[in-house]
Symmetry: C2
DNA sequence: CGGTATCCACTGCGATACTG
DNA sequence: CAGTATCGCAGTGGATACCG
């Protein structure tokens, strides 16, 4: 962590001489983002704490099985927290953790790249 | 594109009122990175232009079918370029395109987040 | 050398129905 | 309300063999 990893280009990702921790970190980030609904779920929670059914309404096309699965994965990965309020009908609330909120710069980088990339794809007449 | 997208938190990702282009950009970025070997292939090519068999040696566990497939996808997505030198035994070389090289900040953001996230996971005794 | 072809296992995801 | 159970299918990826 001490040395800033200035250049990606300076190291190889595979297999021997690649900084293991960077690959792990990269994979962590990727794991958080893969799966059809992760982005949507995180997006839903960026507007604040929500209950299961609220998220469902936020992402109309998702089915409860998938939502449950994605939430569980995000929870295991420390991106969202799940809290149960023991009222008469129990209330379950999901919320982004600190890590979950801090993922924003990653999205921003992806969006920046994606927009620029789209532009150059168009310029090249490319697909 | 004019307005910098300062805050992710300011918009919802799903479904109606999310800036479509951001979602598209985000998905573009994600598409480039998903698949078991994409990261490795890009990593291999960050150290420069390489031939098919060189990449294979760089990623020993990959099989030719997968390498071929991943390279084709990366090519279609404008991340790598493929050039054939018409020597007697034809030489095929793969190289990162401009877009391919420019993806570095995305990786850096992911690594930064991943490293920090790992730290806080440990602090919380979590995982 | 730079790939394809074939086959097969595993998994992601959707649809639908059901439960404490 | 907040999920789980079951099924089924399409897509991903591995192993191995083969080709110009």
């Amino acid at each position: 962590m001490k040395k800033p990893f200035g250049a990606w280009v300076d190291f190889r990702l595979s297999p021997q001489d690649c900084p293991k921790e960077y690959m792990l970190a990269l994979n962590d980030a990727l794991n958080v983002l893969t799966g059809k609904w992760k982005l949507h779920v995180i997006g839903a929670l960026t507007t604040g704490k929500k209950r299961f059914s609220e998220i469902e309404r936020f992402i109309p096309e998702i089915n409860p099985r998938m939502l449950s699965k994605e939430l569980k994965e995000l929870e295991v990965n420390g991106i969202v927290s799940r809290t149960v309020q023991d009222r008469s009908p129990a209330i379950v609330e999901y919320e982004l953790t600190k890590s979950g909120k801090e993922i924003k710069p990653v999205f921003d980088a992806m969006i920046t790249w994606g927009l620029e990339h789209r532009q150059s794809s168009i310029r090249n007449g490319g697909k």
